[in-house]
């Protein structure tokens, strides 16, 4: 059974539901504190999947994810890169996405290039929502047809269930330049978008989540780990029983990754 590492630290608070989602999708999951990993980065080598959960790491002091990103850049970057190089899928929802961008794990090197030895400077940011407010609601999403993201392959996205919950104050995706956005689009690194009429935070290009050029690392502002049961759907009491069969899109993402990790293990 693939083993998922859930990295926790002070103020991370979506760790348990993230672990539960991996378990529901067929993996084992273990929560490990960042302090322990920083003391012994080699522990990451024993895992087949990685989750960087949401929350308010270190209270989001200065800005969302800022402090945790600095700790990871300093102490954990080489170990994380090692894991990615051996094909470990990684998901980073919400605060995890904010951290991953600032660590420089996303959008990652262009296809075919190796990871730099030192953490690269961030090239995209997640700024304060245009409403200047924390928002909790469900948004309509779309999966770009040619995305490389292994997490968002073959999802059933329709009017009834093509939704994900968001809950953040700093989620407005801003790439350093238009060229960067175009490059990500061309390379299939846009993993999930807000529907054009349902962009909750002013993200450029309606980008809700991106992946690296291998499709393994998936960072997104929405919370797929809060959408693994139909009773989490915001209006499930209106849905016909027939519409509530199969895996909700959130769970389907975790199944994709666990299946991928199982294939990597066999290979």
């Amino acid at each position: 059974m693939p083993r998922a590492l859930i990295i926790t630290t002070a103020g991370i608070n979506c760790d348990r539901e993230l672990a539960a989602s991996f378990v529901q999708a067929g993996a084992e999951a273990r929560l490990v504190h960042l302090n322990e990993l920083m003391a012994d980065p080699g522990r990451i080598d024993g895992f087949d999947l990685i989750g960087l959960p949401g929350g308010f790491a270190h209270g989001d002091a200065v800005a969302a994810g800022r402090i945790a990103a600095q700790l990871i850049r300093r102490r954990l970057y080489p170990a994380l890169v090692r894991a990615l190089e051996r094909g470990v899928p990684m998901i980073a929802p919400c605060n995890g996405f904010q951290i991953a961008l600032q660590v420089g794990l996303l959008p990652g090197p262009v296809e075919g290039e190796a990871w730099p030895a030192q953490p690269p400077a961030p090239t995209a940011a997640l700024a304060t929502n245009t409403s200047a407010r924390f928002i909790d609601r469900w948004v309509k999403i779309e999966i770009p047809a040619r995305t490389r993201c292994i997490w968002t392959q073959d999802l059933t996205i329709d009017d009834q269930c093509g939704l994900l919950p968001i809950a953040h104050g700093e989620g407005r995706f801003i790439p350093r330049s238009d060229e960067l956005l175009q490059r990500l689009e061309a390379a299939g690194q846009i993993a999930v978008r807000y529907a054009a009429d349902d962009n909750p935070n002013g993200s450029v290009g309606d980008v809700a989540g991106i992946c690296d050029s291998t499709g393994l690392i998936f960072g997104l502002m929405p919370h797929p780990e809060r959408y693994t049961r139909w009773t989490q759907h915001p209006w499930w009491t209106r849905l016909d029983v027939g519409d509530r069969r199969g895996d909700p899109p959130g769970l389907a993402m975790f199944r994709n990754a666990v299946a991928h990790a199982a294939r990597v293990a066999v290979a």
């Binding site: 002070a10 608070n13 529901q24 504190h33 200065v62 995209a124 200047a132 924390f134 928002i135 989490q232």
Partner: protein, 989 residues
């Protein structure tokens, strides 16, 4: 520390970009939550132990420095906790405490006369009564010495109203003067055959320990009568009930009124922080899984902004935009745009005009009061920032508006937890170490317990600013993580008892845990935020985010490993168990205080209080029909939908993370567009279980003229809310939270007695035990010119109930055209206390009295029967939607169902089941309790009839594909979208 994509950093001070510059910094000693993480980052990146402080800079356009300062005082900063600088602030060094020589202060008390004792109580902020001061004097005469200040403080904290609820536990002589003819439906209370009640004659009774004889007695009697799922009631930090065979759930609700009146952001945040610690401190610690919040504030648009605010109002649009741009734009000079700041920066925007109440003349804001809009914005921000950071979903609440809350906002914070049933109780053992975990101790929060037991005046902000705090949720979250790891340790729970350091700080946590054992404390061991605290200050500090554990010596090292992993500070303050059960306080070896636990906990003299009740005279009867006001049903309905008590609270709800932890089944807002007002939230305390927990509240302050009637209505509303989503009414537990004005006034106490008696009657009739409660008294404000503004008597009923199968949950939104609308329960004549009368008046001629002015009383046989029947209808799947019919009445509830589901609705009230002869207005707008609206498929009518056997119900409408709400035999034809917009608009801040 700066992001290269969206931010820039400068050493020193960035060039001013506006016409005026303001920097806001926490005052020395005030919590600066960002400082510690920055220090950690610097240590990790550079290996340097640096100290950091953070501030926030605002560049303002279009205002001069003087105006900028006013704006800052009104919006970005509160002088109680912040320093405002008009130039960049770069101190040479950070303020630090200075060591102080330890002095033991003896307070001469042995020879004081009554006057001297009373004076000492006030001047030392003890807030003890003369009887209590005399009891202390007698004890020290027995001991043959004067008390030391630390001992007096300990007694004052432990004996404070906040900690021991002496009014609710008092012996009360209650006299009732009810003339049946003139009453507004206020019933005479049947006091015979009640425990602890000594009836002298009709309308005159002595009640021994009011709380025990009413609220708690009902629970006890229900348990004696076979109710077997209450596991721990009224003894721990929260009430505990069984959830399933392995798990228990607990619930606690607290108020944080007094601090919130002075510093709403910090007051609300530390309110939620405190109640979360109560849940962590229940049994051997529960995991917090949901929070609730209820606010009572004055109507914002009825109070003048003061001069400065009005001036701002004229340029509000531009400043608002400028400041936002400044904060959000790339290269902002304000690097910190954490969510705490975001709302404050726009909070001086003029309030929108609620369409219905804006015509009222605006009043001057009393000196010492904050504007209600500012209070509401900042309390919401406080709950949001603390709750969201803790990762606990805030998923149920309410807001009630009444002008008499102008000096005392009420902030109720609740928290629900889950724990293994084996963990529901703990007790310290002799020899256990006293371990403090979490935040450091500072001078902040001193005298919170005594302060919250006092009345507010216009000078309180100055006098008690040290009782107001800013919380640090990350410290609490780390502590929570560490505690749960210690609870679930592979060698078994590492501690034998746990409680939070709430009001009274160490003095109450150690005092409570060691009540049967005695304790010895070494105060110098407590980690301090800064030097210079006296032993007394250390002992009574209410600094946030600390818990006290009783830990067997052999487990200390294991606990230390866990705390280190989570960067949580822990200290060994002393041990439990002393000869003679004494509480011994030492500082650097010297004894600074010694008190017998017995006197501390049992020496409080019994309080004797007088209470009196007579109902207010029946005001003019009738409705607008009698007073000549011409108002169409449609206009009345639109006005009601827009009333702030009824209007959508989505502005608040969407700012809270109400789904974190991934347990949500029903969210606070429901329907296809997520804009229907759900009756209750449902979560799964145990992941992957089909068993759920519904959480709701009831508040019926409109019926404040008789707290008995009001309390029953609140209980009924809470039960209905829970039943409507699928909770089993046989598995509902309640909590009572009283907020009252001063009960030294006989009539106020009379109202409190009536509310408590209603808790007894209601709990027994519904078989819904009370499991926990709290009271906050003295909620009144004395203005500069000596007027007293008393809050309306306010009783919040919170409740949670078991949902046997979450697959059967219902929501209130209409599901399909062609379905029928049913009403369950009788509609009565009484319109007293209704929102209809509040808005449109009822001041007809005083004679003859009109029964429509009476207050609606819950029928304690019919209403519980209706709850059971509706549950049957939901459990069998026949009710596709269910909604309680409360604020605003039948039409409001029906309209909400229609627009939440995007359906039209044809209503016909011809068959409406009634009690008496309600007027056409009462049929539409009376707030008769005990009523439910259900949506039912035509094909399911037989099943429904079976489920609703024995209760009054009728078909009153049909949902359709139209876009209107129509009422037969009237001109009512309202567009669904128009109603929805009226409902959404009022509080869309």
């Amino acid at each position: 520390l700066a992001d290269p994509v969206t931010e820039e950093a400068s050493i020193g001070s960035a060039t001013p970009r506006g016409d005026a510059l303001i920097e806001v910094h926490p005052l020395p000693g005030v919590m600066d939550p960002d400082a510690e993480p920055v220090e950690l980052a610097i240590r990790t990146m550079l290996g340097v132990d640096a100290r950091a402080r953070t501030g926030r800079r605002y560049d303002l356009h279009g205002v001069d420095t003087a105006a900028a300062r006013v704006i800052a005082e009104r919006t970005f900063a509160n002088p109680v906790i912040h320093a405002i600088h008009e130039t960049p602030y770069h101190p040479e060094s950070f303020p630090a405490g200075t060591p102080r020589e330890m002095r033991i202060v003896e307070v001469p008390i042995l020879d004081l006369d009554d006057e001297g004792l009373a004076k000492l109580s006030r001047s030392a902020h003890l807030f003890l009564s003369l009887d209590e001061m005399k009891a202390i004097q007698a004890e020290y005469r027995r001991l043959g010495r004067n008390p030391r200040d630390i001992e007096l403080e300990t007694l004052a904290q432990t004996w404070s109203e906040h900690c021991v609820h002496k009014t609710l536990k008092a012996t009360i002589r209650y006299r009732e003067e009810i003339d049946a003819g003139a009453g507004r439906g206020a019933p005479r209370l049947a006091m015979r055959n009640r425990p602890g009640h000594e009836v002298h004659e009709v309308g005159f009774v002595t009640i021994h320990n009011l709380l025990k004889s009413t609220v708690a007695a009902a629970t006890r009697e229900l348990m004696d009568d076979g109710l077997d799922w209450c596991l721990s009631v009224f003894v721990d930090n929260a009430g505990v009930i069984a959830f399933d065979d392995e798990h228990a759930v607990c619930f606690k609700v607290e108020t944080h009124n007094h601090p919130s009146a002075i510093e709403p952001y910090g007051g609300a945040a530390t309110g939620i922080g405190g109640v979360i610690r109560d849940v962590i401190g229940t049994g051997l610690a529960a995991r917090p899984i949901a929070s609730t919040d209820v606010f009572c504030v004055a109507l914002p648009d009825r109070w003048k902004r003061n001069e400065a605010e009005e001036k701002n109002g004229t340029t509000e649009g531009t400043e608002d935009t400028e400041i936002r741009n400044e904060l959000e734009g790339a290269g902002s000079s304000a690097p910190d745009v954490s969510s705490a700041a975001r709302d404050q920066e726009v909070s001086y925007a003029a309030p929108p005009d609620p369409p219905s109440v804006s015509s009222v003349l605006q009043k001057d804001l009393p000196v010492g009061c904050l504007h209600p809009q500012r209070i509401l914005r900042q309390t919401v921000a406080g709950v949001r920032d603390y709750g969201n950071r803790m990762g606990i979903p805030t998923l149920n609440g309410a807001v009630w508006f009444d002008d008499d809350y102008i000096g005392n906002v009420l902030v109720y914070c609740g928290c629900v937890g889950v724990m293994p049933r084996a963990m529901i109780a703990g007790a310290a053992r002799p020899g256990d170490r006293i371990i403090i975990v979490g935040g450091r101790t500072g001078r902040d929060g001193i005298h919170g317990a005594t302060f919250s037991s006092a009345e507010l005046t216009d000078t309180h902000a100055d006098e008690f600013s040290h009782a107001v705090q800013i919380g640090n949720p990350v410290t609490e979250k780390k502590m929570l993580d560490a505690i749960l790891e210690a609870r679930d340790h592979e060698d078994g729970c590492l501690y034998s008892a746990i409680t939070d350091c709430g009001a009274g700080g160490f003095s109450s946590s150690v005092g409570e845990m060691g009540a049967e054992l005695g304790a010895e404390v070494h105060l110098e061991r407590a980690p301090l935020k800064y030097e210079g605290l006296t032993p007394t200050e250390i002992w009574i500090s209410e600094a946030q985010e600390r818990m006290t554990l009783a830990v067997p010596e052999e487990n200390i090292s294991k606990l230390r490993v866990i705390c280190r992993r989570h960067d949580v500070e822990m200290c060994e303050l002393g041990h439990f168990g002393t000869d003679g059960r004494d509480l011994i306080l030492r500082h650097d070896g010297t004894e600074v205080g010694r008190l017998p636990m017995q006197f501390l906990h049992e020496g409080l003299p019994e309080t004797m209080r007088e209470a009196r009740w007579s109902p207010p005279a029946l005001p003019g009867g009738g409705t607008h029909e009698g007073s000549g006001l011409r108002l169409s049903v449609g206009d009345a309905l639109l006005g009601l939908l827009a009333h702030p008590n009824i209007a959508s609270k989505r502005w608040i709800i969407r700012q809270y993370d109400h789904e974190v932890q991934g347990r949500s089944v029903l969210k606070p807002l429901v329907g296809g567009e997520g804009e229907g007002p759900g009756d209750a939230a449902v979560i799964t305390p145990v992941r992957n279980s089909m068993r759920g927990l519904a959480i709701a509240n009831g508040l019926a302050t409109g019926l404040k003229d008789d707290p008995y009637v009001m309390t029953l209505a609140a209980i009924d509303e809470c039960v209905r809310n829970l039943v409507c989503v699928g909770a089993d009414p046989a598995r509902i537990a309640l909590l009572d939270n009283f907020s009252w004005p001063s009960c030294t006034e006989e009539r106020a106490l009379g109202g409190l007695v009536r509310a408590a008696e209603a808790c007894y009657d209601g709990a027994k009739a519904y078989r819904t035990p009370f499991i926990s409660g709290k009271d906050s008294l003295n909620n009144q404000f004395t203005t500069e010119d000596g007027r007293t503004i008393r809050i309306p008597p306010t009783l919040l009923i919170s409740g949670f109930g078991i949902v046997p199968d979450i697959g059967r949950c219902t929501t209130m939104d209409a599901k399909a055209a062609g379905d029928l609308l049913l009403i369950v329960g009788l509609t009565g004549e009484a319109m007293g206390g209704s929102h209809y009368r509040l808005l449109y008046g009822g001041d007809g001629p005083p004679e003859p009295p009109d029964s429509s002015g009476r207050l609606p009383l819950v029928d304690l046989e019919r209403a519980p029967a209706a709850a059971r029947a509706v549950h049957r209808a939901i459990a069998c799947g026949a009710a596709r939607a269910a909604h309680d019919c409360s604020e605003g009445g039948l039409l409001v509830a029906a309209a909400e169902m229609a627009f939440a589901g995007g359906a039209g609705l044809k209503l016909d009230l011809a068959a409406l089941p009634t009690d008496g002869e309600p007027s056409p207005t009462a049929e539409c707008f009376a707030e008769t309790p005990g009523r439910y609206l259900l949506e039912v498929r035509r094909n399911d009518l037989n099943e429904i009839d079976e489920a609703l056997d024995g209760v009054a119900y009728a078909i009153i409408g049909e949902f359709d594909d139209s876009s209107t709400l129509d009422l037969a035999n009237t001109d009512l034809e309202l567009d669904i979208e128009e109603m929805k917009q009226a409902w959404l608009g009022t509080l869309d801040w």
